[in-house]
């Protein structure tokens, strides 16, 4: 790289991050496997596998399906549960010198509240509230689709949560800008968007859906332009910071999201293909800043 140092650091809701590149929940476990392959403390942050109050084995049947430029998954929030996380993962995860983001999902309001209270006194940086996993059936209720349902969850969680709270939004929301504003009004410190898009595949020889749950979540480059548009709309509609997520695979993708208004970005599917792709994104962004004489990402954030 040429020239002097550039400042990649960002402030996300009061959390100082070395750079804006975070690994997305559900694509990096708790960081252990990746730590065997590269220095994960070079990351801006790491979002844990989505936790639920009780441990889950996840879904059965086909769990992954490749599409042109993407993958559909139906993992179904396989995770050790909040207590399992505290017992088995927290010592490791909590000691990481990077923004530590704990992702929490739930099937009902009480699960969220109990999960939050179990996590409340623990040392990590941000609680990322997942109101949007498309792969878990919860009696027809999806917390991330209707604004008023999301508002209620965020209000109640905010009432007990002592950590910085970022709400992870679903692209399947009826009106994602309205829903984002409701989260802000209820006290969310930030937003993460998007999660996967509800999608479907058919096995034409067996004449039935590929996935046992019929629908699954689409991720990868295929969704990037749509997620980018949503991040742009939401970032303009709220004053809390946004983490942009959706098919980010290169530094150019990351810069696009930042120009669209994201304070930080999360990388998901691309890690499956190249475990240390996030480092390429960090280095590429730094090189771009030097070349374009950008001293801080503030200069380009939300510039379009």
């Amino acid at each position: 790289m040429r020239g002097g140092a550039v400042d990649l650091s960002v402030d996300f809701a009061g959390i100082k991050m070395k750079n804006p590149v975070v690994l997305a929940s559900g694509t990096c476990g708790f960081g252990r496997e990746l730590a065997e392959r590269f220095d994960v403390e070079k990351l801006g942050g790491l979002a844990s596998k989505g936790l639920t109050l009780k441990a889950r084995d996840g879904n059965s049947g086909v769990r992954i399906w490749e599409t042109p430029s993407g993958i559909m998954n139906s993992i179904g929030l396989e995770n050790p549960g909040v207590k399992g996380f505290i017992e088995k993962e927290l010592d490791w995860f909590g000691s990481l010198n990077t923004a530590r983001i704990v992702n929490l999902g739930g099937h009902c309001l009480d699960d969220y509240l109990e999960g939050v209270s179990l996590l409340n006194d623990l040392d990590f940086d941000i609680l990322e509230l997942n109101i949007s996993c498309p792969n878990v059936k919860q009696g027809g209720m999806n917390f991330g689709v209707k604004t008023e349902v999301a508002r209620e969850v965020v209000r109640r969680v905010r009432g007990v949560c002592r950590h910085r709270l970022s709400v992870k939004l679903s692209p399947n929301a009826e009106d994602i800008v309205e829903l984002a504003r409701a989260c802000e009004e209820e006290g969310a410190d930030g937003l993460s968007l998007t999660n996967t898009f509800l999608a479907m595949a058919v096995d034409i020889y067996r004449r039935r859906p590929v996935f046992e749950n019929t629908y699954a979540g689409l991720s990868g480059p295929a969704i990037k332009p749509i997620s980018l548009r949503m991040v742009h709309q939401v970032a303009r509609g709220v004053s809390i910071p946004v983490m942009g997520i959706g098919g980010i695979s290169t530094w150019q993708d990351a810069v696009e999201f930042i120009m669209a208004g994201a304070t930080a970005v999360q990388i998901g599917t691309a890690t499956f293909i190249k475990p240390d792709v996030a480092l390429d994104v960090i280095e590429g962004t730094a090189a771009f800043m030097k070349e374009e004489r950008i001293e801080s990402l503030e200069e380009i954030r939300g510039s379009i």
Partner: protein, 239 residues
């Protein structure tokens, strides 16, 4: 340079039958019997790399036996000597080191990991009696090669290779192939009281334990085929 950015040079890529290919690449490695690699020979698309079993390995080269089943393996089949393929590192656990009377049973492209396994077991203990049972749906391949590493090679084309083996003749049976075949073999081994290890196959995205796509139910709970396997004691997975 990182894992997946490392490119290996293709030394040869032979078509063995209508859809079976044998690809040898130059790549320093310590691959062990039963392990696999996530390979790709293209840029971004198809998105996912493809898991291929190690057929043979020496410190400088790796050989993969694969069957063309989709877009990725079709692209592999077009590679020629001198082309590049990204290999990364050896993944997964290994077949156990066993001695005595051993049978290796493969179905279709599931014969792939058995060559290095046979070679390794013989090298570790020359007194091991090692028989190979290879089942094919339409055309047998590599039988001459397998004869070099086993004491006896039994092949079957179009039938059920599991009908040809009497597990009571063996102390250990190791297998890789279609799950229905391995399950049938487990039934026979259980009756005979012979210990069976199976190499499981699942769709995978990452191959190193973070995507959780390759979940497999076992008597010890949900396991990942990519890092906890692919090799499991049969009684743990066929429950």
């Amino acid at each position: 340079m990182t894992d997946t950015a490392r490119m290996s040079r293709v030394l040869s890529n032979l078509q063995l039958s209508r859809d079976f290919f044998l690809m040898r690449v130059a790549e320093p490695n310590e691959a062990k019997m039963g392990q696999f690699y996530m390979l790709r020979s293209w840029g971004m698309y198809p998105l996912l790399s493809r898991p291929l079993s190690v057929y043979d390995a020496d410190p400088e080269t790796l050989t993969f036996l694969y069957k063309v089943v989709g877009q990725g393996t079709k692209l592999f089949s077009g590679l020629r000597a001198g082309d590049s393929v990204a290999t990364g590192r050896a993944l997964g656990n290994t077949f156990p080191v066993v001695t005595g009377r051993v049978a290796l049973v493969g179905g279709g492209v599931g014969i792939a990991p058995l060559y290095l396994t046979a070679k390794t077991l013989k090298k570790m203990d020359a007194s091991t009696r090692l028989d190979l049972y290879l089942g094919f749906s339409d055309e047998a391949v590599l039988c001459g090669e397998f004869e070099k590493v086993g004491d006896r090679v039994v092949t079957d084309v179009g039938g059920f290779i599991t009908d040809r083996i009497s597990p009571e003749d063996y102390d250990w049976v190791l297998t890789c192939g279609p799950e229905a075949m391995m399950r049938a073999l487990y039934g026979k081994c259980e009756k005979a009281g012979t210990k069976l290890y199976v190499s499981m196959e699942r769709r995978m995205a990452c191959g190193f334990g973070v995507c959780l796509a390759c979940g497999c139910d076992t008597s010890r709970g949900r396991k990942k085929v990519c890092v906890d396997g692919p090799v499991f004691p049969a009684e743990e997975v066929f429950i």
